[in-house]
Symmetry: C2
Subunit: 118 residues, 2 copies
């Protein structure tokens, strides 16, 4: 399994939203930390940056992905909404779809023939 | 279909090779143009850059993906090998797997509820 490739999957939607691992990891960290600032810290991201990503996501979906109504400018709690959890789950499922695909296995195999001997 | 997201799929292999749309498009263009320089031109890429990508790919696989033995420093013919065609096909199949997935459809749907009305 150590040959498992790291996947970068970025989705560029027609509405102008780009959704990739950065936003997915942020949603997950917010869900686990219960706070945007703590999530940002965990990911080595400034609060400002984390907040900007949350605002970008929230503004593109019909309902917010993150509810920060309990938080103030510099802290307070935040939670991932039902829609946010769904978006995160679908993205993770796409990653898993890739990771478990026969195509990725074939590419890994094509590469490893020579490198296994190194 | 105009809401179809553009996908960026980049695979980072343990061997140090990164393979994404840039290299896939280059392989495809070489196969169609029969030349690295013509492929680079079509993609708006310098010959130097196209050649560097080809060398990077060739050095990571047990056999070359591109055969440029007929070409000189500044031109000549090049072709995509059987292994190169296989790698390209597997990558395109991964893209298709994503594009046709129920997960991507769900994300698209989650986004479009509000934006359809704009």
């Amino acid at each position: 399994m150590e040959n498992d490739p790291r996947l970068s999957l970025r989705l560029h939607f027609a509405q102008g939203l780009t959704f990739g691992r950065g936003k997915a990891d942020l949603l997950q960290a917010i869900a686990e930390e219960g706070s945007i600032s703590a999530a940002g810290r965990r990911l080595g991201m400034s609060y400002r940056r984390a907040w900007a990503l949350v605002e970008e996501m929230n503004s593109h979906f019909p309902k917010p992905l993150v509810d920060s109504s309990r938080g103030g400018a510099k802290g307070g709690g935040a939670s991932v909404t039902e829609l946010g959890a769904k978006v995160l789950a679908e993205y993770r499922a796409l990653e898993a779809l890739l990771r478990d695909s026969s195509q990725l296995e074939a590419l890994r195999h094509a590469l490893s023939d020579v490198n296994d001997g190194k």
